[in-house]
């Protein structure tokens, strides 16, 4: 029973939860990795326009095998397509969209999220590691709503939802909502508020695997 509880939602269910919270007509940037899965779950009747910071607004689905164009890629450097009504632009214009607060929603992965909304998702800060930041710091500084989608705890059992990030920050107090396999949490002025628990899971169990203080 406990094992079953611990599993919570799978990655697709998490992605679907995120998609359900994105309003119709939103301009959306999806981070590399799990966030990319959100694109598969646009709710019936809604239209989102996907921005990829390397220079495309109106990113479409993955191309059919053999149809990949090495000059039509997303921020994760994977082949994509462009929808009718798409447009291309250079990096300064692309980050005008981001920094200028024109993108409505960004969905990002995380190494750690703190209870005040601090995000760490670009470096573990280990000596000798090659730091690589990409557009993450621009996205959290500029996008109106930041959703994080992440496993609740690491593979080695460490908390990712923490009191204070121990890893180098991507941005301070930038996250609005966290979607994990176990729960959905809002970052509020009072701390992390549990919005939804995965089926069969108790609040007490969630607190036991969450370093940050949470409330209902």
């Amino acid at each position: 029973m406990v094992n079953e509880l611990k599993e919570g939602w799978d990655v697709n269910q998490m992605a679907q939860k995120v998609a359900l919270d994105i309003p119709d007509g939103s301009y959306v940037n999806l981070g590399i990795g799990i966030p990319e899965k959100v694109a598969a779950f646009v709710p019936e009747g809604r239209e989102f326009i996907y921005h990829t910071e390397n220079g495309l607004l109106g990113m479409g689905p993955v191309p059919a095998k053999g149809q990949e164009d090495p000059e039509l890629i997303n921020a994760g450097k994977k082949a994509v397509t462009a929808i009718p009504g798409a447009c291309y632009f250079h990096h300064a214009d692309s980050f005008t969209m981001i920094r200028g607060k024109h993108i409505d929603v960004c969905v990002l992965g995380a190494l750690q999220v703190a209870e005040n909304g601090d995000l760490a998702n670009w470096s573990t800060g280990e000596p000798g590691a090659i730091p690589a930041v990409g557009g993450a710091m621009d996205l959290v500084a500029g996008v109106k709503t930041i959703y994080v989608i992440t496993k609740h705890i690491t593979k080695t059992g460490e908390a990712k939802i923490v009191k204070n990030c121990s890893y180098p920050l991507t941005g301070k107090a930038v996250v609005n909502r966290i979607y994990t396999d176990l729960a959905i949490l809002d970052v509020t002025e009072k701390g992390l508020k549990v919005i939804e628990l995965a089926p069969g899971l108790s609040f007490e169990y969630l607190q036991s695997v969450t370093e940050a203080h949470i409330f209902q």
């Binding site: 119709d24 301009y27 462009a82 920094r99």
Partner: protein, 237 residues
């Protein structure tokens, strides 16, 4: 479904409020959204701050808006053009404020407003009266002045073609301030001569990505300001 097309100019400008800051595209008459400006005159909003390169000519378009005492302040680079009498008269009487900004600094301040850059340094105007009172700083032995971003509540912009996502292309030198003003306004309102299907504008040739545009209204044959002025027309007619 995303559909930014609205049915008429009245609907396009209905929520413009007293005291709003409005960017208006155009360099002289090229790119001036005359039908949107006339709709704004009809709509009645006042105490406006207008950001536009010039102040209009004759008594139509922007000059008519000023003539109707709707404009509290102009932010522009060149308020004195051929057939512009409305602004100079009010200005001499002290009835309208003017913030004079060098043209490139005006463009860059608008671009910065759209790009989330609150301030930047420029060599333009250093050592002149337009830099007086402003912070200066030396980089690599050259003196620069710090200029702040300009943002607006609304932009009124003229384009050639638009689609329902709000993607725009412009016509020749009528492009001028439109693309940057769309980025710097909370609500960019566009009049376009043609509304086309998604995909009809080559994605390599879109000048203003739709993300910067909130509303588009079709004005198939926009009035030509200089003709109206030559005919001594006044708005409202």
């Amino acid at each position: 479904m995303i559909n930014k097309i609205v049915t008429n100019v009245e609907e396009a400008v209905q929520d413009i409020f007293d005291g709003a800051t409005i960017m208006i595209s155009g360099f002289g008459e090229a790119g001036s959204p005359i039908e949107l400006i006339h709709a704004l005159i009809d709509q009645g909003a006042k105490d406006l701050t207008i950001v536009s390169n010039n102040t209009g000519s004759g008594e139509v378009g922007l000059a008519a808006l000023i003539a109707h005492k709707r404009v509290k302040k102009m932010i522009c680079s060149f308020p004195r053009t051929a057939n512009s009498t409305v602004f100079p008269e009010l200005y001499k009487k002290g009835e309208i404020e003017l913030e004079l900004v060098p043209q490139g600094t005006l463009a860059e301040r608008i671009r910065a407003g759209g790009a989330g850059i609150p301030a930047f340094f420029t060599p333009t105007s250093v050592g002149t009266p337009l830099a007086e009172g402003k912070e200066t700083r030396v980089f690599d032995e050259i003196t620069y002045v710090m200029e702040n971003a300009i943002k607006a509540d609304f932009a009124l912009v003229k384009a050639l073609k638009a689609d329902r996502y709000g993607n725009l292309v412009y016509n020749k030198t009528a492009r001028n301030f439109g693309p940057i003003m769309c980025t710097a306004a909370k609500t960019a309102i566009v009049q376009a001569e043609q509304i086309v299907e998604l995909g009809d504008i080559d994605p390599e040739c879109v000048v203003t990505p739709g993300i910067f545009v909130k509303r588009v209204v079709k004005i198939t044959n926009p009035a030509q300001e200089s003709k109206l002025v030559a005919e001594n027309r006044r708005y409202p007619w």
